[in-house]
């Protein structure tokens, strides 16, 4: 039994179909849409003689100043829409192009793990927890080659082998990093831990102990336990399987990981409670004397180890 050709199938359908009428000739609903009509009031909108002339129209709610404080954020009285505007999370984007540029120009050292702290230390990337910003979002701009008629192997794709820890990553961005032999992990930082991570110097100067990271909120637990997002709470074998699956899906061969020189660096992962590599939560960093002060009190040790049972006394 061979398959019928398209012509045969079409003729069979026609034989069985009812008579064609005018209603069959009509467009399907949604097939054609009318374009937006430009009305007289859209042109310039009465702004011919001030600074807005010639500029793009500002975002909705913009009232003189920066773009992080629109009207609806300052006066959030509307309940039909934007009721949760001040509760929404933002993840300032970092493209692969920008990341490659930072590495090439020497702002970042790819022989060390790159996390939010390393990025913020370069001062080329900003993340402000007070503006409900929750970390780095890795976008895939810069994953592809830009020259015409060049074979993939010889062209300038994202080629740095990095151990990257971000807070949000798109699938193709993860694919681009893994294809180059690197590692991506998505990890959650709660606002206090984020404040410490974003500007460690300022935190250490306060003399406060390094905070412990708390677990993600309920609506983010699903994201960070998913191996497809390379979540820091997902199981390592599931992450390995997701790596192979993504390689099959996008169409690249997973590179060999036989380079032992970088193995330790690429395998480095922070504990879910840890904010800085090499430093545990609860430690106080004394900058003046260049020393570390570690807690001994069992109650503090109990808290900073993340245990949930009732803290032991003394």
């Amino acid at each position: 039994m061979g398959s019928k050709s398209a012509t045969e199938r079409a003729l069979n359908y026609l034989r069985r179909a009812p008579r064609v009428t005018l209603t069959d000739v009509r467009d399907n609903p949604g097939a054609r849409t009318k374009g937006r009509l430009v009305r007289k009031k859209d042109n310039m909108a009465g702004q011919q003689y001030n600074d807005l002339r010639g500029a793009g129209k500002p975002p909705l709610g913009w009232i003189w100043g920066d773009f992080y404080k629109p009207w609806q954020r300052i006066y959030p009285g509307a309940t039909f829409f934007n009721q949760d505007i001040n509760l929404r999370r933002e993840y300032p984007p970092l493209s692969l192009l920008e990341l490659q540029r930072l590495i090439d120009l020497g702002w970042l050292d790819p022989s060390l793990p790159i996390d939010l702290t390393a990025l913020c230390n370069t001062r080329q990337y900003r993340c402000d927890p007070s503006l409900r910003q929750f970390g780095v979002q890795l976008t895939d701009e810069g994953a592809s080659v830009f020259a015409a008629k060049v074979n993939l192997e010889g062209a300038s794709v994202f080629a740095a082998k990095v151990n990257l820890e971000v807070q949000w990553a798109s699938e193709t961005a993860i694919a681009a990093v893994e294809r180059a032999g690197g590692v991506v992990t998505t990890a959650y930082y709660d606002p206090i831990a984020l404040t410490a991570a974003v500007d460690p110097l300022k935190w250490f100067e306060k003399g406060e102990p390094i905070p412990r990271r708390h677990s993600p909120p309920a609506d983010l637990i699903g994201y960070y336990t998913d191996a497809r997002h390379r979540g820091y709470l997902a199981s390592p074998p599931a992450v390995e399987a997701a790596r192979s699956e993504l390689a099959l899906k996008i169409g690249y061969a997973l590179p060999d990981r036989t380079d032992d020189a970088q193995h330790d660096m690429l395998a480095a992962r922070k504990d879910p409670l840890q904010v800085f590599f090499g430093l545990a939560p609860g430690w106080v960093v004394n900058l003046a004397d260049q020393t570390l002060l570690k807690p001994k009190n069992p109650r503090l040790l109990h808290y900073y180890s993340g245990r949930l049972d009732a803290s032991k006394d003394s």
């Binding site: 015409a148 008629k149 199981s235 099959l248 899906k249 090499g278």
Partner: protein
């Protein structure tokens, strides 16, 4: 060093770099969150072709497929003329080691319009504006094509199981009985209309 701020090393009592990665282990470390991974929890990703010659498990060895890129068609001026976003993949169906003979035959029949004289199956895509996404689309098309062939072959070659065969036989017998019964009834009806009944 991760905890470096503006070039100053924080904890100079920390030894060589390797110690940076030696771990503080809290209560929520990954090993204790996933203690005994059951095999069903980890998805099985195929790493080699299926044993069944009629079945395709989704495995495509990407190294054995030639990928090339060229400029896309359509409007766009200088950008579309310079940027190689069109992805083309090709491989010879006859010499492909990851396809069984049955699948090769069916693929050649169904997708003869995409195969050239030398037997190379060529799939191109310029669906998106990104080259890597177009490449993924090419592989998606290829995978779908092979899956369709495999499903068709499986359907054609399936053997009905004995219980089903028995059930069908019984149904057929019942249908025959009913047919004969109706025939007799009809015959009696006609007979009863005869003059010398």
């Amino acid at each position: 060093m991760i905890a470096t701020m503006r070039g100053v090393v924080v904890a100079r009592r920390v030894g060589p770099l390797r110690c940076l990665y030696s771990q503080f282990r809290g209560a929520y470390n990954v090993e204790s969150l996933h203690p005994q991974q059951s095999s069903s929890a980890i998805p099985k990703v195929p790493a080699s072709p299926s044993d069944n010659p009629l079945q395709f498990n989704g495995y495509i060895p990407t190294e054995e497929i030639d990928k090339s890129f060229s400029t896309s068609s359509g409007p766009g001026g200088q950008h579309v003329n310079r940027v190689a976003t069109r992805a083309i993949i090709r491989f010879n169906v006859r010499t492909a080691k990851w396809l069984s003979d049955d699948l090769k035959k069916r693929l050649t029949e169904r997708y003869s319009h995409r195969i050239n004289i030398e037997g190379d199956l060529i799939i191109a895509s310029e669906r998106t504006r990104k080259q890597h996404l177009n490449l993924a689309d090419c592989f998606d098309k290829l995978r779908t094509a092979v899956y369709e062939c495999s499903e068709e072959l499986t359907k054609e070659n399936r053997q009905p199981d004995p219980e089903k065969v028995e059930e069908l036989r019984l149904r057929q017998e019942q249908a025959n009985r009913m047919r004969l019964l109706e025939k007799r009834r009809h015959s009696m009806k006609k007979e009863s209309r005869a003059k010398d009944f």
